[in-house]
Structures are given as C-alpha cells and as structure tokens.
C-alpha cells in the first residue's frame, strides 16, 4: 500500500507545508522590518507623497467608475426585491448600508489589489531582477527604508480614502437609479438612510475594515515583489500571486471583521 510513489507524494506535501510556514515567517519578519524602517518615510514625506500618486491617484478612476456602477446595480436589484414587500422607500437604507458596511471596503480593496497591488509587486520585482535593490544596498542605502516603507504607508493611507470615495459614488449611483430613473420618493430615500446608517457603527467600522485591508494588501504586494525570483517568470508569477493572495486575504478578513463588528445588530 505504501509504495514508493505514495511516500514521495507525502514527502512533497510535507516539504511544501514546511516551505509555506517558512515563507510566512519570512513575510512576518519583512513586515516588522518595514515598520521598523519607517522612520525615513516620515522624516522625508516627499517619498510617501510620490507613492501616494502612483497608488492612490491613479486608482481613483477605476474606483469612482466601479463605485458608480455598483451603486446603480444595487439600486436596481434592491428596488426589485423591496417592491415585493412594499418597502421601496427603504431603498436608501439598503444601498447605503450595503456599501458602507461591506461593498465599499471590500470591492475597493479588491480593485486596489488588482491595480495598485500588482503594480507595486511588478515594480519591486523588476527592481530586484535588474539589481537596482542590490545597487542601493551597495551604496549603503537600505532598500526597505527607501523603497518599501514609503509604498507601504502610501497604500495604508490610500485605502480608506478610496473606499470612502467608492461608497459615496455608490450611494449617488443608487440615488440616480432609484430616485431619478425609477421614481422612489427622494425624501424618504435620504431620510430613512440617515436614520439607519449610524456613524460609529457603520461608517467608522467600514473605515476600520478598509485600513485593515490596506495593510494586508500592501504588505502582500510588497512582500511578493521583494521575494520574487529575479527573472521574468519570477516577477510575473509574483504579480499573479499578489492578486490571488490579496483577494483571499480580503475576503477572509472581511468575514472575521464582520463577525466581530456586527455581532449584536
């Protein structure tokens, strides 16, 4: 029963498991190093500002457009469902709560991971492959302080701002479809929304979620780039891994955070 093939397979699985644990440890150490070397980023805010442009500003278009579409779809679908209970006036609540609590932080984080995260991985992977990081080390400049940390903080700062923009555009999209196109009563749309969406419970929790997602996505993107094999296939593999791992992390963290935050409601 335990022929040679089976034993080899089991050994491979064991190897891969141990490798994954080792890699996770390396990733944790990388995270600690990034935080430890963040002093340079704060002493020279120009570095963060530059990265904010590439992660935040260049992601704005996709976030705003997606937010608008998601909000419009919510308006449509929400209206169809609420109509069967005669509760069309609750459309505002439906759109706003879905966006602020869940869709805003989660979808914008997924989009951020695909756009800005993969770009960061590719950039750093390429710098590693063309020996730019080694050259920096040879010139006695720590690449983690100079290249990695500013990008990390730029990502963490961008994420909640982008999520807020997504949610705001989404609410507007829901309003466009619900009130302007379909004809739900404008007054009850906004009034019911305002009475149901609580600042502390919903909006602040949404912001906390997007900050957590920002940390996770940026960390994964930077680590995959930094650890990528210095070849073309290595970098492209790392970029793919960033998007996949980030997406799984976002959805997993979302579940945990939602369970923690919205327990009583």
């Amino acid at each position: 029963m335990f022929n040679r093939g089976a034993i080899i397979n089991v050994r491979n699985v064991g190897h891969r498991a141990i490798d994954s644990v080792l890699r996770l440890g390396y990733a944790a150490r990388f995270f600690a190093l990034t935080l430890a070397h963040s002093g340079t980023s704060f002493r020279r805010p120009r570095l963060i500002v530059r990265e904010l442009y590439f992660t935040g500003v260049l992601s704005m278009i996709i976030i705003l457009v997606s937010g608008l579409f998601v909000g419009m779809v919510l308006g449509f679908q929400g209206y169809q469902t609420l109509k069967t209970y005669g509760s069309e006036s609750a459309l505002g609540i439906l759109v706003a709560l879905s966006l602020v609590r869940e869709l805003g932080p989660v979808v914008s984080a997924l989009l951020f991971a695909s756009r800005a995260g993969s770009a960061m991985t590719a950039e750093i992977g390429l710098m590693k492959a063309t020996e730019q990081l080694s050259a920096m080390e040879m010139m006695a400049v720590d690449p983690i302080a100079r290249v990695v940390a500013p990008r990390f903080w730029a990502g963490v700062i961008s994420m909640p701002l982008l999520a807020a923009m997504f949610s705001a555009m989404g609410v507007y999209g829901g309003y466009l479809i619900g009130v302007v196109v379909i004809g739900v009563d404008e007054g009850s749309f906004w009034a019911q929304m305002q009475s149901a969406v609580d600042f502390r419970e919903d909006i602040v929790n949404g912001v906390i979620k997007s900050i957590v997602f920002g940390i996770a996505v940026t960390w994964i993107a930077l680590f995959e780039g930094y650890d990528a094999p210095p070849t073309a296939e290595g970098v492209s593999g790392a970029t793919t891994r960033t998007v996949v791992t980030s997406s799984l992390a976002i959805l997993g963290l979302d579940f945990i955070l939602t369970a923690l935050m919205f327990r009583g409601i």
Binding site: V49, V57, Y85, S87, V100, A164, M165, A168, V197, V207
Partner: protein, 156 residues
C-alpha cells in the same frame, strides 16, 4: 512628472477622499443628531420587549427624544427592565406611559412615550409606571385562532 504637478494631484486625491468621508458621515449617516446632548435616565419594565435592542430610538409623538441605553431581565418581577437616556430638554409627567412599537411592517422596534397629565415631572432615575409590551406575532395568531374557534363553536 514635475514635483508641483504631483503634489497637486496627491492633494486633490486626499481632499476627495476626506470629502467623501465627510459626505458619508453627514448626508448618509446620522452623525448630525446626538453629537453629545446632555441626557438623564428613565427606566420602564415590560412583560415582553419583543425585538427591542440597545440604541433603539425613544420617540414621543414620532420625534426622537432619546435612545435605549440597556436592557436587563429582572429576575424578581420576571419582567424586562429597559433603561433609556432621554435628552435633558424633554420632560415627561409622572403618569406618562411607555410602549414598545414597531416602525412599519418590517421595521425595527422602538419605545414610544405618551405624555401624561400630572404636574410633577419624572426625574433622573425614575421609572415609568404605565407600560405596554410588544405585540408578539405568535400570541396574536394564537388569539386569532382561539377567537375563530370560539366563533365557529358558539352558533351551535
């Protein structure tokens, strides 16, 4: 890219983000109300609070006058004791009544206070004596079926 152009775009980005947050907080959320008005506490006991939750609204004549602070089970009287934070500017007479009402058909439950006729007002820590519990759907159906059965049985 020129430094100044970069700064401009990043500045716009941050402003847009914070602006979106502000819009969400003010227009979408209800941060406008209850920034920190002073409150005093009143309590009321109900046989059944239904689906009432902490932070539910306390309304009088349909206007929000306070929030439910906490709900506890009174093991001596076998009733639910609800503590409410009422805004200081609203005073209610000692014979006011509190009921657990539902907002709309699928809506959440809230407490409605109807003002009484006495001159003396409730003070901090007082309890409302007159209460009406929530309408429980099962009891309503049970009552309906009982009435129907009685109706069907009597003409015979």
């Amino acid at each position: 890219m020129e430094r100044s152009t970069l700064d401009l775009w990043v500045g716009l980005f941050v402003v847009a983000g914070l602006g979106a947050l502000t819009i969400l907080a003010l227009k979408v959320g209800n941060m406008g109300s209850f920034g920190g008005a002073a409150t005093y506490q009143l309590s009321a006991s109900f046989t059944n609070i239904g689906g009432l939750k902490p932070r539910a609204a306390v309304k009088s004549s349909g206007v929000v006058v306070g929030r439910v602070d906490s709900i506890a089970f009174d093991n001596d009287k076998f009733m639910a004791k609800v503590i409410m934070n009422i805004e200081t500017r609203y005073k209610f007479p000692k014979d006011s009544s509190a009921s657990v009402l539902t907002a709309g058909l699928l809506g959440e439950q809230y407490i409605g206070i109807e003002g009484g006729a006495e001159d003396a007002m409730l003070a901090n820590g007082d309890a409302l004596k007159l209460t009406q519990s929530a309408v429980v759907l099962e009891k309503l159906i049970g009552q309906f079926m009982f009435d129907k059965a009685a109706e069907g049985g009597s003409p015979k």
